[in-house]
């Protein structure tokens, strides 16, 4: 077993690491970064756009190109999150929370470099875990039932406290509830009835996540820049952003290394579950990191903490890699992007499933190695480009702000080709602007919105399966286990302060 695995890995590697593939991965990374940086265009769009080009290529080469595009687009999304507070997709929302303040403090280069290193490490650690545990993990993830997902979503919601920010917990909860409420708009999955659509066709499919993210983050940010003209500095001095700014000091590396290790593992595990994915991976990593951080570091979260930036970046890349486990071993796509990837694999004549790993290890490893190649080349390609990306911030605001507004609106329109979404976006933006002026945090709103739908669907399926009784919450071992973790996370601050109190009392006596 182990030997076939090793030889499979070797064949995969030799098949992948050839000049044409390296050309392709470079091209893919570049195109992906470019597309991903466009507000509103994320990995799904980038991969879907590139698939037709790969039809004529050899399957491995095609996969390599797509994985370059994929990682490139994720990184591109992080870039726009950090530089202009414009998360291009759900998985990079958490990145913006500490990345954007860092950039505004005049350290965009450092923020991007940390994001790049974190993504790379997250991907690398995830690939290593995958090498050894893919089949095992696949069989575990297979056992996750709807009720377990429900418990997991509750656990995910506890991350909200990490986004409380100034103004405290009550405001964060309020925004979470608003997010949960917004997620109920549209066709109800379980009964097929329409909720809060007001008879309008446009609302039938619910509210588009990206539209909401752009309205609450990018658009309001641009408008806030106009409103608070004196408060924040004007565009950065281009000369101040140089190559030396990229340098991450040894001390900083030491600070984020444990973060990267923890977030990789957590992100990977969440990613392996077909119903969770990269978004939850990034949010949960951020939440965990803030919970574990010492008091003084906790203060910095949301204001440009390096750990707060590194955690979600690592988590989302590890989770994206993790989502290839159920895709390749079970043929089940866990996210939109992996669904598009599955389409590409099938078009190449590769049929993912439990036999793939055993029967055709070279294909299995070929795919994994090409994913990894994308990860490596992203770092190689993008590190030198970071100063140029960072200089985006040097653009005068009179040009920058209209551009952000234009690209955000355009980005949303390009996804749905629906002008109604743009009108809705403007309304959301106005509401969000008022909320932000009242210091209401926006991330809990998005977290509530993402988790709300998943939570509700899984709960209602669970109730239907368990004959309308919620006894599964304590009777099913896996569900119970997740619930216990949730409780621990909830009471962790309390436990820690009690322990701290005890310790100091012991010291004193």
């Amino acid at each position: 077993m182990f030997e076939t695995m090793m030889s499979g890995m070797w064949t995969g590697m030799t098949a992948t690491f050839i000049p044409i593939n390296i050309m392709m991965v470079l091209f893919g990374c570049f195109m992906g970064s470019f597309i991903g940086m466009m507000p509103g265009l994320g990995p799904i769009t980038a991969v879907a756009l590139m698939i037709p080009i790969t039809y004529g290529l050899d399957p491995t080469t095609g996969m390599v190109l797509l994985s370059g595009v994929y990682y490139g687009a994720i990184f591109g999304g992080s870039t726009s999150s950090i530089l202009i507070n414009e998360p291009g997709e759900a998985a990079t929302v958490a990145t913006a929370i500490d990345g954007y303040p860092l950039a505004r403090q005049g350290k965009p280069g450092k923020a991007l470099a940390i994001a790049a290193y974190s993504s790379f490490s997250g991907g690398t650690i995830a690939v290593i875990i995958m090498m050894f545990f893919a089949p095992l993990l696949a069989s575990i993830s297979k056992g996750f039932q709807s009720v377990d997902y429900f418990a997991l979503m509750i656990l995910g919601l506890t991350a909200v406290s990490a986004f409380a920010g100034k103004g405290g917990f009550a405001k964060a909860m309020l925004m979470t509830i608003l997010g949960l409420m917004l997620s109920t708009v549209g066709t109800d999955q379980t009964s097929g009835t329409q909720r809060y659509t007001f008879g309008s066709l446009e609302l039938l499919d619910g509210i588009e996540f990206l539209m909401l993210a752009m309205a609450t983050f990018a658009l309001t940010e641009a408008l806030l820049l106009v409103l608070r003209r004196d408060e924040c500095s004007d565009s950065l001095n281009p000369k101040s952003i140089g190559f030396k700014d990229l340098k991450v000091t040894k001390k900083e590396f030491k600070l984020i290394a444990p973060t990267i290790a923890r977030s990789s593992i957590l992100g990977f595990l969440v990613g392996v579950l077909p119903g969770a994915g990269a978004t939850l991976g990034s949010f949960m990593s951020y939440g965990m990191e803030r919970n574990l951080a010492p008091k003084e570091e906790q203060e910095k979260f949301g204001k440009g903490s390096l750990r707060g930036l590194s955690a979600p970046e690592t988590g989302n890349n590890a989770a994206s890699t993790g989502s290839f486990v159920p895709l390749l071993t079970l043929g089940i796509p866990g996210s939109g992007t992996t669904a598009v990837m599955l389409g590409a694999l099938v078009a190449y004549g590769i049929e993912p499933g439990p036999r793939l790993f055993v029967d055709r290890p070279e294909v299995f490893w070929g795919v994994i190695m090409s994913m990894y190649l994308g990860n490596v080349f992203l770092l190689v390609l993008n590190l030198p480009l970071i100063p140029y990306f960072a200089r985006l911030l040097a653009i005068p605001r009179v040009i920058m702000i209209p551009c952000i507004l234009f690209f955000s609106l355009m980005g949303v329109y390009l996804i749905t080709f629906n002008s109604f979404d743009i009108q809705m976006m403007v309304i959301f933006c106005v509401v969000a602007l008022f909320l932000r002026l009242m210091n209401m945090p926006m991330a809990p709103l998005l977290l509530g919105f993402i988790l709300g739908g998943l939570m509700e669907d899984n709960l209602r399926r669970g109730l239907s399966i368990y004959d309308n009784s919620i006894s599964f919450m304590w009777e099913r071992p896996l569900t119970l286990g997740i619930n216990i973790v949730t409780l621990i996370v909830l009471f962790f601050p309390l436990i820690r302060s009690t322990l701290g109190g005890l310790k100091s009392r012991v010291m004193a006596s």
């Binding site: 037709p52 009964s191 097929g192 066709l201 119903g275 629906n418 399926r461």
Partner: protein, 330 residues
Amino acid sequence: MKSLGKTIKLGFFAILAGVAFIAASFQPAQAADVDEIHFLIPGGAGGGWDGTARGVGKALLDSGLVKKVSFENMSGGGGGKAINHIISTAHRQKNTVMVNSTPIVIRSLTKVFPQSFRDLTPVAAVIADYAAFVVPDDSKYTSWDQVMADFKKDPNSVKIGGGSVRGGMDHLVPAMAIKAGGGDPLDLRYIAYDAGGKAMAGLLSGDTQVLATGYGEAIGLAKQGEVRILAVTSEDRLASAPKTQTLKEQGFDVVFANWRGFFGPPKLSEARQAELQSVLEKMYKTSEWEDIRTKRGWQNLYKPGKEFVSFLEDQELKIGGIMRELGFIK
């Protein structure tokens, strides 16, 4: 220093180059049968409708049957948005065909949108995916008969999952099968997932005992020995799976095909209809189509014009009946 203006210009050229690159790969062939087809896709990129339209478009173009194809995605309102669009702008949609499938029948019955296929010009059905009942490999069931027997003893013991909402296709097919077996479809415990893949994960995790899905979605895992297909809802056994029994031969008279086909704008000229039907018919014989079809696991189902209409009417009658029984329409 790089200014934004430069960046934008650069971006513009990159996109232009990309478009040129893609366009160059679609070289117009000589002596095409049809000059131009514009495909209107009522859903987003990567979905089933999208795959069908782009697959058919590619086969038509590559085989030289059509000189120019273009695609337009317009999602919203479960497809209602695109239907509205093609009807309200019919006068400038002469080259447009809209892809659709069984949900257009279901959604016009439930009044999700006020129009039905009668407001459009049905051109032809091109492919079908038959429904299939799937169980995990270690399941005790080997035929629909046994599922039926358990269902009659205790309807709650058999939970059937599917990738569509309640009242959607994956719910209606098992309801029809239960009705055909003499059970009450109202007792069916249908568990709805938001996508076929997730419903499959639910089957494997033990959430549900049986999965109702498209044959094409189940065949991959069935080949790998992870799941078994109890029965398909085709008229005869499928050529690609001669060992899989049909529901009909197991004694349950249910035939159901999730067709995918094309519709023109209202009052499309007879000449254009005939032209489109003839290229679609010719497409089946091309190697380009065979290639795409086998890769995607599609079954050919060609029903042009009037035949398509009577097929749709029949389906509307059947689906309407079961939906009325389930209380989705009054």
